[in-house]
Structures are given as C-alpha cells and as structure tokens.
C-alpha cells in the first residue's frame, strides 16, 4: 500500500508538472484580466503543492500491515479482457451496426467474465441485443447506428 501510494502521488505530481508546462503555452494574462492559461496554471501549482504534501506523508508513514489485497494475475487478465472488449465495441460499433456489435460484445463479455455454456451465452446475447434494440431504438427513439449489413 505504501509503495502504491508513493507511486500514485509521484504520478500525480508529474501530471501537475505537465499541466504547468502545457498551460504556459496558453496566454496567461494577469490577476486583473486572467486569460485562457491562467486557471489551468493556478490549478497545476495547487496540484503540485498538494501532491508534494501527499508524497511526504506517504514516504513517512509506516508500512501498514493490512496492505490492500493484491490483485491476482488472472484477475488482471479478466479486467484487461473486459476493457479490451469494451474498447473494441466502441471501435466497431458504427461500422458493424448496433445489433451485430452488441451481440458480439455480449458473447465476448459473457465468455471473458465467467464462461457459461455456449448455448447459454448465445441465448443471453441474442436476447439482450434484441431487447436493448427494441428498448432504445423503438421505445425511446434513440438513433442507433446501422452498420455494413444495414441493421
């Protein structure tokens, strides 16, 4: 936990530094007429100060015995797969169309998270894509993308 807290504070301090540099590219103005970069720069300075305080605290604290539960590697795999599937959904949604993309998403997610039997996976995936389509497109009139197959 201690090590992670230090890393987090250091990363956030780095972010503060980056924002400071980026904000300097913008017009700053002055206290009477603050310009575009004024607010971000002030915030970056504030963030830098706070992260330094946090960093010092984290460095000085005793290592706590009750460290946060470590994430087992197969859990990382599951998390990574879930995120990748969702990202993939975002990327193919407008090309594949809502129905197909949703069906694929559900099949993959169901398999990635706990892998029920294939028949169950297909039934759930089919049912959810059809139901969500009915709910959003027909009932609520949300314009959903039609893909290469026109559905």
């Amino acid at each position: 936990m201690k090590r992670l807290e230090i890393i987090a504070a250091a990363l956030l301090a780095g972010l503060a530094g980056y924002v400071l540099l980026a904000a300097n590219q913008l017009r700053i103005g002055n206290f009477r007429v603050p310009q575009t970069g004024f607010f971000p720069r002030a915030l970056a300075v504030l963030l830098a100060l706070l992260t330094v305080v946090e960093l010092v605290r984290a460095l000085r604290q005793a290592e706590t015995a009750t460290a946060a539960a470590r994430i087992p590697s197969e859990a990382w795999l599951r998390i990574g797969a879930t995120l990748a599937i969702m990202l993939g959904f975002a990327l193919v949604l407008e090309w594949l169309g809502f129905l197909l993309a949703t069906f694929a998403l559900m099949v993959l997610l169901l398999r990635a998270i706990e892998a029920p039997s294939w028949s169950k996976v297909f039934i759930v995936a089919l049912a959810t894509s059809a139901l969500t389509y009915g709910l959003f497109a027909w009932l609520l009139g949300v314009p959903l993308p039609a893909g290469i197959l026109g559905i």
Binding site: M1, L4, E5, A8, L12, A22, L26, R27, F31, R32, V33, P34, Q35, T36, F39, P40, L43, A44, L46, L47, L50, V53, E54, R57, A68, A69, I71, P72, A75, R78, I79, T82, L83, M86, L87, F89, A90, L91, L93, E94, T102, L105, M106, L109, L110, I113, E114, P116, V124, T128, T132, L135, F136, L139, L140, G141, V142, P143, L144, P145
Partner: protein, 493 residues
C-alpha cells in the same frame, strides 16, 4: 381565493383523461430513462419532442415535464443497485445507497428515495405555485459575481465528500477542476488540452466521466473477486424503510427539499449541485459524520429529496421569465415555441390554463411516480440475485449504449472507459470520485464567472465585496474554511 380558483382551473386541465394519460406516459418514460444509465431526461425529451408537435400544448408540456421529474425518481435506482449514477444528480446517492444495497438494504434505500422524491417533489410544486414570479425576479440579481462566490462556497463541500484523507480529497477536487477546464475556453474561444479533437472541444462530458469513475470502476473492482462469494449480502432485509429509517430520514428529506428547491432556480446543473449540498449538509449536521459513506440512510434520503425539489425549482426561470437555464429547459422552451407559445414574463398571465394545468399535473405526476416506483422495488431487489456472470455484462452493455446515446459519439465511450480505469486505480490507493465530480461541475462556472466579473468590473476585485449577496457568500466560505480550525482549537483547549 384567486389561488384556489387558479388551481381549480389547473386541475380541470390536468385531470382530463387525455392529460392524465400523457402525464402517466411521461412519468413512465422518465422512470425508464432515469433507470437506464447515461440516457437522461435531455435525451429522452429530445427524442420525444417531435411526437408532441401534434399534441395540445398543455399535454405536450405535461408529458415532457413528467419525463424530467420521473427521471429523478429513476436515477437513484442504478446508483443504489450497482453504483452507476442513472443521472448525474444521483452521483452522491452512490456513496451511501450502494453500500446499503451491499448490506442487503437495497429495499430501504430505494424506498426512502421514492418517498423522499415524492415529498420533495410535492414541496417543490407548492413552492413553484406560490413563489414562481417572486423568485424568478430574485434570480436575476444573481450575476457573474454572485455565481463566482456561490461556487467558492460550493467547493468547501469537498471537505464533506470523502471518508479518508483530506489531502487526497483536495487532490481529487483539483483534478476535477482541471478536467472541467478542458475544452474551448468560453471567454476567449481558445482551445485548451483538446489535442485537436472535436470531442474534447466541449470538454469532458459529465455523464461519461461519472459513469466511468463510479460504475465502470466498480465493475472492474468486482471482477477481481469473481468466482468467489456474491458482492451482495444475500439476506435481503425488508423491501421498505422501517420505522428507524423514517426517523433518521424525516429531517434530511425536509432540509433537502427546501435547499434543493432554491438551488434548482439557479442556472446550470442545479439538481446535481443540490444533491451534493444536501449530502454535505446532512454529514455536517449528523451526530455520526464518520459513518457517512458506509451506508447511512440520511445520505440517500437528503440528496434524493434535493434533486427532486430542484427539478421543480428549475422551472421557475423558464415559466416566470422565459429564461432557459439548462439544456432541458431549452427543450421545454422549444416544445412550447413550436406551438407558438413564447414563455416569458407574461406567460403566466397570458396562458393561465397552461401554467396552472402544468402545476396541477406535477402533483398528479408525483403521486403516479410513487405508485409506480414502490412495486418496482421488489423487482429491482430480485434483479440483484441475477448471477453476476450475466449481471456484469448487462451493466457494462447499458453503460456503453447509454453513453453512446448521449451524442452518438463513440469517443465518449472511450472517455468513459478511460475514467473507469483511472477511477479503479485511484480508488485502490484511497482517492475517491465524489470530490472530483463536484469540482468538475463547479469548475467551469467558477472560472467563467470570475473572468466575466473581472471584465465587467474592469479588473477590480472590490465588486465581490460591494454586492451584498456576494459578500454574504464569501463570508460563509471563510467561515466554512475556518470552522474546522476553530473546532480543533476548542477540542485541544
């Protein structure tokens, strides 16, 4: 007497079978979009706007308003059940509501938010009925200087939004302010941190960020322990709030109703801010503030009452002045203008049957929503028994569609996922999402109003002290900031 006469006129409009039906449809659709994460009342009203062209103006506004306040009823549902804010005004409800659900008290949390919403909705309509013109005029005295002072006061609430380290809460607040600064600078028109992308030109959307930080992060967290025991306590304790719950919630609901109503009048995300203020207030007043965030019912009752009362308040500028203060109010204005009715200072006098019919319909609609929502609680609670191998993919799917439905922009899905990962990682080292969201809501208002004020005052800061409302708010901020020091000193003495 005149009021009674007017209200009778209103009832005669609201209680026609057609309008009752439209009120019910509105309430139903509102509950639905409230429950569905992402898709909010703005989207639903926008999609249903074209249906209202063929309706009577009164029916149109009765139905559309039903969607708006109905969404506030439904919004708490997913916050409580799965930690995904159904509406941005339900972000704070996640803090204690979700914890209650995990302890098997989803029924009590859902119940109190339905009753709280009903009570607050009714209080709000009463306020709207008696105070609309008066408060509409009063709202005009809020200029940029007052907004700036108000956001300063609002930011002090950060102190009440975290359970752990204050430094970490402040860091999250500053990060939230920075996130709010992304996009086109509303004063100069220059772009900040947009990296040439069109999506970021409007800044990060509140909905994708909140759904990422809360919902996606929570699902990722739960993915760690899969295959083990259920996330939820399996023994469900009652479907409705018990006597003790009511005793604890009565005062928060009352306070939330009043605060929410007044904050709703102000432009911008009134219901969101109202819910945060109510939460902070209850924590401040509580005898056990340290328990907030672990599943106390006051933390659900107050904010849920506040966001509902705020919806009633937010109609005031539109109906009494013709000023739309938020995207949804602009939609209502459009819905009326399509029928050739222009809301403005003369609206109530020119169209009494419309105004009073609308008011009366809100009483009816709130009652309908209570009746509609109570039986649903049993269904929602049962839903939690769905095996999570199926529940999680479903939650994620609804998040994805919900965010996409906002602007038909896949980039917003990516933003949601990114904030999901950030939220997940930061939570593991003790950084919480609520201060971030509050700061992100307040930040843009704060910066813009400060710079507008300085343009108006030509760079003089005296304007903040010369204006009474402003000076009072700044005084309050100072008191809030110094209060902990004072209390600490007394304890040590």
């Amino acid at each position: 007497m005149e009021l009674l006469h007017n209200f009778a006129l209103g009832l005669s409009v609201a209680l026609t079978p057609m309008n009752l039906l439209f009120c019910f449809i509105g309430a139903l659709v509102g509950t639905l979009v409230g429950v569905l994460p992402g898709l909010g009342p703005v989207g639903a009203v926008a999609f249903l706007l074209s249906i209202t062209f063929k309706m009577e103006p009164a029916s149109a506004i009765i139905m559309l308003a039903g969607i708006y306040y109905g969404a506030m009823y439904g919004g708490s549902t997913t916050s409580i059940l799965v930690n995904i804010p159904g509406e941005t005004a339900s972000v704070v409800t996640c803090l204690d509501g979700y914890k209650m659900a995990r302890q098997g008290r989803a029924g009590a949390a859902l119940g109190i938010s339905a009753f709280g919403s009903f009570i607050a909705g009714t209080v709000g309509v009463v306020g709207l009925m008696f105070l609309a013109p008066l408060l509409g005029r009063a709202a005009l005295s809020f200029g940029p200087a007052e907004y700036f002072a108000l956001t300063l006061t609002g930011l002090t609430l950060v102190a009440y939004l975290s359970q752990g380290s204050m430094t970490k809460a402040l860091i999250m607040a500053v990060l939230g302010l920075l996130a709010g600064a992304v996009g086109m600078d509303p004063i100069s028109g220059e772009e900040r941190f947009t990296y040439g992308t069109l999506t970021l030109r409007d800044g990060f959307g509140l909905v994708p960020v909140a759904m990422g930080l809360f919902g996606i992060a929570e699902v990722l967290e739960n993915l760690i322990v899969l295959g083990g025991q259920s996330v939820y306590e399996t023994k469900i304790q009652g479907l409705l709030p018990n006597r003790q719950d009511w005793r604890d919630s009565a005062a928060p609901i009352a306070r939330g109703s009043v605060v929410g109503f007044f904050l709703g009048i102000l432009p911008g995300p009134g219901p969101v801010i109202a819910s945060f203020v109510s939460y902070a207030m209850e924590k401040r007043l509580s005898r056990y503030p340290e328990k907030f965030g672990t599943g106390v019912i006051e933390g659900v009752a107050g904010p849920e009452a506040a966001n509902n009362a705020a919806t009633a308040g937010s109609f005031i500028p539109l109906l009494s002045l013709g000023i739309p203060t938020s995207a949804i109010m602009a939609l209502f204005m459009g819905a009326l203008m399509i029928h050739g009715i222009q809301p403005g200072p003369l609206f109530i006098a020119k169209y009494p049957e419309l105004f009073w019919g609308f008011i009366a319909s809100m009483y009816v609609g709130n009652a309908m929503l209570l009746v509609l929502n109570l039986p649903l609680i049993g269904i929602w609670v049962k839903l939690l028994k769905t095996p999570y191998a199926i529940l999680f993919p479903l939650i994620l799917l609804f998040c994805l569609i919900g965010v996409y439905s906002l602007n038909a922009n896949v980039a917003e899905i990516v933003i949601m996922l990114a904030f999901g990962v950030i939220g997940f990682l930061l939570r593991r080292v003790g950084y919480e999402g609520a201060p971030f969201i509050l700061a992100m809501v307040l930040g843009p208002i704060m910066e813009t109003s400060l710079r507008q004020t300085l343009l108006i005052s030509r760079g003089s800061f005296m304007i903040f002290l010369n204006r009474p409302i402003c000076a009072v708010l700044i005084g309050l901020t100072v008191v809030f900031l110094l209060w902990p020091l004072f209390k600490g000193a007394r304890r040590e003495a």
